[in-house]
Symmetry: C2
Subunit: 109 residues, 2 copies
């Protein structure tokens, strides 16, 4: 969780721009299944992914995590942690809620 | 999440009906601030609340938790845990994502 929301010198928008690490799935307005497929592929490759979203897309991020862990990889992947927070975005600045959901594949027995 | 669900014998709708414990705030379509005020009052009374929501209201539940812990009670309350899940609801049954956010007030130093 990001406890502080002090004024930042760099415009917050820039935080969206740098190339996302490959194991991060940033959920937006596309259909749930397109994120779920990307998450599935990345998870089988790297073993752990982080699903992130802001604002209204938070519900969709939860859907993606649930589809991947309960339907696609039921029993072989699980939600490891869920962190919520607040970011300051835009001009004029306003608070936007965020979520980060870590999903890892479980070692096979 | 929209996907087929296994047929259940008990209608899942009944799970919605029992009276909500007072320290549970079920977030729906009302404005964020009305839930945040209810959460604030309950939190000062009982020291811990659980904010719940389903489907599209999940984003609003995160907003409520963030407003209460960061703005209203900054420093004196914090998100303790966030749990996501899936419930089977409706006829025909379909899967709906859920969230449960526990917020507790911190003991004063």
């Amino acid at each position: 969780m990001t406890e502080e929301a002090p004024a930042k010198e760099t415009p917050e928008k820039e935080k969206e721009r740098p190339p996302m690490p490959r194991d991060v799935i940033l959920v937006g307005k596309k259909p749930i299944m397109s994120y779920a497929m990307a998450a599935l592929m990345q998870l089988t490759e790297s073993g752990e992914i982080t699903i992130k979203a802001r604002g209204r897309a938070i519900s969709a991020a939860v859907d993606v995590a649930e589809v991947v862990s309960k339907r696609f990889l039921s029993g072989s992947a699980a939600v490891k942690s869920v962190i919520i927070g607040t970011e300051v975005l835009g001009e004029p600045p306003r608070n936007v809620s965020t979520i980060e959901i870590k999903v890892s594949s479980k070692p096979k027995k």
